[in-house]
Subunit: 186 residues, 4 copies
């Protein structure tokens, strides 16, 4: 919702200014992005909604971000699908896969034996996949991107951040370009 | 952004359920609205953006709400327009209008004498009009509506809340109707 | 930080009133608790800090609450302790324990084989224990309590909520009693 | 609440590390402050409560900050005190004072004529003083300080920020020093 235009319109209401040209808008946006301390509110008028499927251990990091909304598939109400993440190019992945399969086998046995779904899920490893809807404004999105694109972030999470950055570039080209050049300094 | 459909979709991901009929969607939404404790996150996926013009004393109350974004016309950078709110049907409105005019006269004098805009504005009463853009999700909007439609809220603020409720009804008819019947109990 | 006194002081600044007696303070606090729409900000001036140890599946629900701060033991940097939750009074707990032990065995093997901690943790079930520090204001605490004391909440999470309610009663007796009687209706 | 110790403790739980010396704690805290992207949550476990008296136009800027709690003297319920801010060293301050006095005279007349307090306040300029209690965590406090100590911030607001920085230094000397050197670069 909103895109570059929402950010520019929010900035212009503060000064009651009007754009003389698209170039003036780009310059305004770059000034907002690079000013220190930063102007966060103008970027909050653009809002995104994503559907995400990722391993639990990635979702756990993701949901530490608080200025946004999540609704996740609940394993209290749903039965877990037999889907889990397998790291590539490592030794012992056979033992890993074998164990994950065994954990889903046990999960199903426990359910069959009358365990509640919310208790039986305790045996499923955090490489199991989950799904959620994420609604987030552009300011909070950039905060997440900055943290999760960082070389110190977990590799698996970084792959999601790169994909989201690609979408950001398509939907809000002016803001995303300014962000990459002036904040990420890529 | 989103509307009723975004709320329903977010709720359905939790249970991985699919709607069998529009009536089932309405029933789900009414259950979410009336459950205690309430399910707030599903309503946060629908987002609104409003342009508002109101007296400063209304804006001051409005901006106490924190789960939303405001960008306001700045009297540090802009010159205030000679526009102010006059309560109707009261004695002494002549003295009131006369004083407000005098305050704008003085404001202009101070500016002419070299005062900064940010300091000269100190003489303008809180009945002067301001303008802002407000981006807010449906959950936070309902919280504001509940507080500002309350008979104990200031009459002037209530008029804005009634107008916003009308827009809410148009844009999200299922959610707004459930809210009015089950929460506001109108 | 703060306790009952901080709530009362914040309420009294709005009205610039002074307490004539402790009974007047109790009455004020009960009125704030029961008024509809509720007065949340006054309760936000009292702040708690907890140290929590719980299964990952409980922590995942807990960290969905956003108006608070968490810092958690990181399995990117630390090695997981061999500690996990075992539900009581159910069939198949032997198979469950056996599987959890196997998952910690595999975890240690993967680490020994050179896997990163952040990837090896993928085999550990969500019944493994984690630890975190939680800082939360009294308003947000009551929101959590209301949701997690609800009969529909997961039993394991409810045990934590009952324990926290006990602490709340000790630290803020007036507010907690008003909350139990007027909101929880216990 | 908390102080430097709360920040250090929160950071150490992530790594399950223990301090070998006070110097190690200082080094840890400086690393947390200077890392990019920054570690905000650890700073949120220390919480401050301030009592503030300032002109309305300063309060309006202050209350745009959202990660904190305000409770303000209400001019719906209280009668405004005849107190207002007068900028120093400017021409025309006599006309300014004269007008502010006239606005309080009119305010009292309108009240005497039966106007509601919430409507009569519309004539009072934004240089009138208000009072509020502000509860804020150290992270959000630093965000406010950074924005309000900036040379581009309004001079009147900056005086409050300098005073708060002084208190911050006294209460959390390690964190405040790291903040001044590494973020404010004073």
């Amino acid at each position: 919702m909103g895109g570059d235009a929402a950010v520019i319109r929010a900035a212009r209401i503060c000064y009651q200014s009007t754009a003389r040209s698209p170039e003036a808008d780009v310059r305004l946006l770059r000034r907002l992005m690079s000013s220190e301390p930063r102007h966060n509110t103008v970027f909050e008028h653009a809002v995104f909604r994503f559907f995400v499927k990722c391993p639990l251990f990635v979702a756990r990091q993701w949901m530490r971000h608080r200025i946004c909304t999540f609704n996740e598939k609940s394993l209290r109400y749903c039965i877990a699908d037999r889907e889990y993440y397998v790291p590539q190019g490592l030794a012992n992945t056979e033992a890993y896969v074998c164990h994950m399969e065994a954990s889903f086998d046990l999960y199903e046995q426990l359910l069959a034996a009358g365990w509640k779904r919310e208790q039986a899920r305790g045996v499923l490893g955090t490489s199991a996949y989950t799904e959620f809807i994420w609604t987030v404004n552009a300011w909070s999105l950039m905060n997440w991107l900055q943290k999760r694109l960082d070389p110190a972030a977990q590799w698996e999470h970084r792959q999601y951040a790169e994909a989201v950055l690609g979408i950001y570039r398509e939907v809000m080209p002016v803001t995303a370009t300014a962000f990459e050049e002036l904040v990420l300094k890529r």
